[in-house]
């Protein structure tokens, strides 16, 4: 019965790699039928490979055996019969064609040689176009220098990671200062144009050679422009998401009103994502406050669709699994209708008309009795 699949992860030096072994779940691979008699563990991993100048993560299937060594781009496995098999960084990489490589090398040399004038021309064009107005001249020049160097490096190596990282890093710094997407795209396109111009100037006598150089340059330059723009937009989206998250968290407080009694007032529109977050916060709140009763008040929610209503029911059930009773209060007629339509099991839902009634019932459940001081005296 020890056949429960178990996953062993990340037992390696490099992040992202993973070894999976499924004791008992036998590996089948039509191409490796002959491996069937080998030990129960099958080895597979993700290798970081370079494919056509691009880093990709590739899934490697090694058949069954013992893993001897694992690195970012290498996996060595001993098969049961003693054979040691190694998967190296893939040979499938389609190298750039000889000509492209040679042309790009020539191009890179040219750009390195003319680093100062081209860069100055570029900064001039940026100022002229009134881009990056939020930054000082010195800052623009410093950033332009780094972008220029990463740009040339990307052309030279054909890998975009360094540039990507730089773009992300740059975005992180300039987004808080109010730099807009069009400005970032604008400066990269300007650099592309400036470089193209300098190529025209250099090869104006030899139209054939210019054409060939542009053939090599254009795809690379477009890819770079793309990388930087996408990097910027992603960073912006990340910032926006982070802010949304913060706002959401503030908008759904889990409040403790008495020992063991939580109240969750929900106001506004609930989309599936907010619903998820509500549930996570509530379940965590139940645990940290050791709550026994929770009142979810949805007076402030006008309507919810079937999927959110379903989610509400699931939240009630999950809370019960933690040992807490949920009372839902303030259901609008529309929401009540939705719950009936999706066929909610009313035996599982504890509802009270309004928040006050809900709190009173919660107090009864917890054994409290609220008495007027005069009566008590």
């Amino acid at each position: 019965m020890e056949r429960y699949p178990q996953l062993i992860h990340s037992a390696t030096e490099s992040p992202g790699n993973c070894i999976m072994s499924h004791p008992g779940v036998e590996a089948i691979d039509s191409k490796e039928e002959d491996l069937r008699y080998l030990p129960e563990v099958f080895c597979s991993c993700f290798l970081d490979c370079r494919l056509g100048g691009r880093m990709v993560r590739k899934f490697m299937y090694m058949g069954r055996g013992t893993i001897l060594q694992m690195e970012r781009s290498r996996l060595m496995v001993r098969k049961r019969d003693g054979d040691v098999v190694t998967q190296n960084e893939t040979a499938e990489a389609t190298p750039r064609s000889e000509t492209t490589t040679r042309l790009l090398r020539e191009l890179v040399a040219h750009l390195r040689q003319n680093r100062t004038p081209v860069r100055e021309e570029w900064v001039g064009r940026i100022t002229e176009a009134q881009l990056l107005m939020a930054m000082t001249k010195e800052e623009i020049f410093a950033e332009a220098t780094s972008v220029y160097d990463s740009y040339v490096a990307a052309l030279e190596t054909g890998t975009f990671e360094a540039l990507q990282n730089y773009a992300r890093n740059l975005s992180e710094r300039i987004i808080p200062r109010g730099v807009e997407t069009h400005e970032v795209v604008g400066i990269v396109l300007l650099l592309r144009d400036v470089l193209a111009r300098s190529l025209f100037a250099k090869y104006q006598g030899d139209f054939e050679q210019l054409n060939r150089i542009l053939d090599a340059y254009e795809p690379a330059a477009n890819r770079i422009a793309n990388t930087v723009a996408v990097g910027f937009v992603q960073e912006r989206e990340r910032v926006i998401r982070q802010q949304q998250e913060a706002i959401r968290e503030l908008s759904t407080p889990v409040l403790q009103v008495r020992e063991r009694l939580l109240i969750l007032p929900i106001i506004g529109v609930i989309d599936p994502q907010r619903a998820r977050q509500l549930t996570e916060q509530l379940l965590r709140g139940i645990r940290t406050n050791r709550a026994k009763v929770v009142v979810i008040d949805i007076t402030g929610v006008a309507a919810m669709d079937a999927s959110v209503a379903n989610h509400l029911v699931q939240t009630v059930e999950a809370s019960r699994l933690l040992g807490a009773t949920v009372i839902v209060t303030g259901l609008s007629p529309e929401i009540a209708q939705t719950l009936v339509t999706i066929g909610v099991d009313l035996g599982k839902m504890n509802t009270v008309g309004d928040l006050q009634g809900g709190i009173e019932q919660a107090e009864r459940l917890l054994g409290y009795k609220v008495v007027m001081i005069a009566e008590a005296g």
């Binding site: 019965m1 020890e2 379940l283 965590r284 645990r287 050791r290 699931q314 999950a318 699994l321 040992g323």
Partner: protein
């Protein structure tokens, strides 16, 4: 890994220590169902705090344990289900219907104590 079962007064306490295989779960079911009558226990607490995944088999087996123990004349309470696990279970459609749950061991003990106190007092009347 076998789940240790402790006797504490009239209660049995089984504390899951690590991820359970199917075999462990079935073994646990056998042991609890046997011992609950052997030890003349009237309450069982199953502490699953250490479980970070509960799939359909585990959930079904736990429900069965609770139901069989009721038929053997005792009460079961499941304690310590983690918030993430509870949510995953509900998504899967596993809600342990008809099984008592409590936040942790302390709460579980209190639940059983209360249950049997009220049973004892109603018997007196």
């Amino acid at each position: 890994m076998e789940v240790p079962i402790l006797k504490q007064g009239g209660f049995l306490i089984a504390t899951v220590q690590a991820a359970l295989t199917d075999a462990d779960l079935l073994q646990l079911r056998r042991a609890l169902v046997e011992r609950v009558v052997q030890m003349r226990s009237y309450g069982v607490i199953l502490d699953v705090t250490a479980l970070d995944v509960m799939d359909s088999f585990a959930s079904r087996t736990i429900r069965e344990i609770a139901h069989i123990i009721r038929l053997r004349g005792a009460e079961t309470v499941i304690v310590g289900i983690q918030p993430e696990v509870a949510f995953a279970m509900v998504q899967l459609g596993l809600t342990l219907e008809g099984v008592a749950t409590a936040l942790d061991l302390e709460e579980g003990l209190q639940y059983l104590n209360q249950k049997f106190k009220s049973a004892a007092s109603s018997a007196k009347h």
